[in-house]
């Protein structure tokens, strides 16, 4: 009841048509070419992109973190330098203030002593002038007075002048002793 014509001792182990074998191989090669050139590269590209995206995300986060840390560091540094600057400026101002005060004090002292010296000199000059004028006036007055008292004319200028001088010299010795 097995009616297949030309049956070989190997039965179904031999291909019915040898072309089956070639067709199988050719079809395989065609699919392989599509897989090799198109399908696998596309899938692998997607996988690589996915890996890159995940890794990129992690790297991005790390970079952001580093950036934030750097910014914090910078801010802290700026803050501390600003503090230093402020204290330096305060210090400077203090020193400057002290210097200004000392300067002003010195100027005031100089001015006052200068004024004092001026006043003293003026007073001295006025006193000298007063002494001179007094001397001449007192001389005249004293002679007139003495002339009246003595009744003697003191017209003899020579004598009168000597008398006055003697008198004034006495006066001066007296005033020096009294002083």
């Amino acid at each position: 009841m097995l009616p297949l014509a030309g049956e070989s001792p190997l039965g179904p182990l031999l291909p019915e048509h040898p072309e089956e074998l070639y067709v199988g191989i050719v079809l395989f090669l065609i699919i392989l070419a599509v897989m090799w050139k198109v399908v696998v590269p596309m899938f692998e590209k997607t996988y690589a992109e996915r890996t890159a995206a995940i890794q990129g995300g992690i790297q991005k986060a790390e970079a952001a973190q580093a950036e934030a840390a750097a910014a914090l560091e910078e801010y802290k540094a700026q803050l501390s330098s600003a503090r230093e600057e402020a204290s330096r400026i305060r210090e400077e101002a203090k020193t400057q203030g002290a210097a200004i005060v000392a300067d002003m004090r010195q100027q005031a002292t100089e001015e006052s002593s200068r004024l004092l010296a001026n006043a003293k000199a003026q007073i001295e000059a006025e006193r000298a002038a007063a002494v001179n004028s007094l001397r001449s006036e007192i001389g005249g007055l004293a002679i007139t007075l003495a002339g009246r008292i003595v009744g003697e004319s003191l017209d003899d200028d020579e004598r009168a002048r000597r008398t006055v001088d003697r008198f004034i010299a006495d006066l001066e010795t007296q005033s020096v002793e009294q002083a």
């Binding site: 179904p12 182990l13 074998l21 199988g24 399908v39």
Partner: protein, 274 residues
């Protein structure tokens, strides 16, 4: 009978009992084209086209965040990529991935044709197709070994396991040669062919036999009464559904096994000696 009639004519009764003749091809254009342009070749071509279209469709418009279609495609792709290629071949798997994907999907689709209503015939129950793929696998794993170790280096690698004492060499070398170079492709092809051949034969027995029993009006020369024969036909047809389910499993497993073994042979051919 020609053209599409020859392609789509599933499970015709044919002569009873089923046997090798149940696997005979029907030329699509008898007298016009050679006899090998038959329904089996046609369904192999259709299978190849389906495989190519499937993968092109899955590979199209991929994005980093996969949608439903891409998730399914990646599931299928990763089954071969991670489950077979990377596990067995290690870091070199990329080079052999297209080959393994092709083997797996081409064999799987053609095996499922055994349960597919238009064809009802697993292509690889025709041994020519199975020999074709076995030859491809043989060329690939030997080629990979020769490329890695050189011709004589590979022969030594393949026929002489490390650490065998010298006096056993005359015994071991022919045995290993037979086992690694000659028997491997034969078993690859035969395993694929025989599983599908047997499965299809069983299905034909249950379906065709059941139909005959169910529709018989005489005793067919047996001692059983006709109603009993008809009941047996119903049981037989019902049971064929279980066989169909089993064949779905067998067809998938054979596609997997063929791919895994090919990867395994490549892996052992390019392995470093220890």
């Amino acid at each position: 009978m020609g053209g599409l009639d020859g392609l789509i004519l599933p499970l015709e009764g044919g002569a009873w009992p089923p046997g090798e003749h149940s696997f005979a091809s029907r030329p699509l254009f008898p007298g016009v084209l050679p006899d090998w342009v038959n329904n089996h070749v046609a369904q192999a071509v259709i299978g190849a086209v389906l495989v190519i279209l499937f993968w092109l469709w899955m590979a199209r418009g991929q994005s980093v965040v996969p949608g439903k279609k891409q998730t399914f495609g990646e599931l299928a792709y990763d089954f071969v990529r991670n489950g077979i290629a990377r596990d067995i071949l290690g870091p070199e798997f990329r080079k052999y991935l297209p080959l393994l994907l092709t083997l797996f999907s081409f064999i799987l689709v053609n095996n499922l044709f055994g349960q597919f209503a238009l064809f009802m015939f697993p292509t690889f129950s025709k041994i020519g197709f199975a020999w074709g793929l076995a030859l491809v696998a043989w060329l690939v794993y030997n080629g990979a070994g020769i490329k890695k170790h050189g011709l004589f280096g590979y022969l030594k690698h393949a026929t002489l396991p490390a650490g065998v004492p010298k006096f056993l060499w005359p015994l071991i070398i022919p045995l290993e040669f037979l086992s690694n170079i000659i028997v491997r492709p034969l078993t690859l092809g035969l395993r694929l062919f025989a599983n599908l051949f047997a499965g299809h034969l069983v299905i034909v027995v249950f379906v065709v036999g059941g139909t005959m029993l169910l529709s018989t009006a005489d005793q067919m020369g047996t001692a059983f009464p006709v109603p009993l024969l008809n009941v047996a036909g119903v049981v037989s047809i019902l049971f064929s559904f279980a066989i169909f389910a089993l064949e779905l499993l067998v067809g998938s497993i054979q596609a997997y096994i063929f791919t895994v073994l090919t990867a395994q042979y490549v892996s052992s051919a390019i392995a470093e000696d220890h």
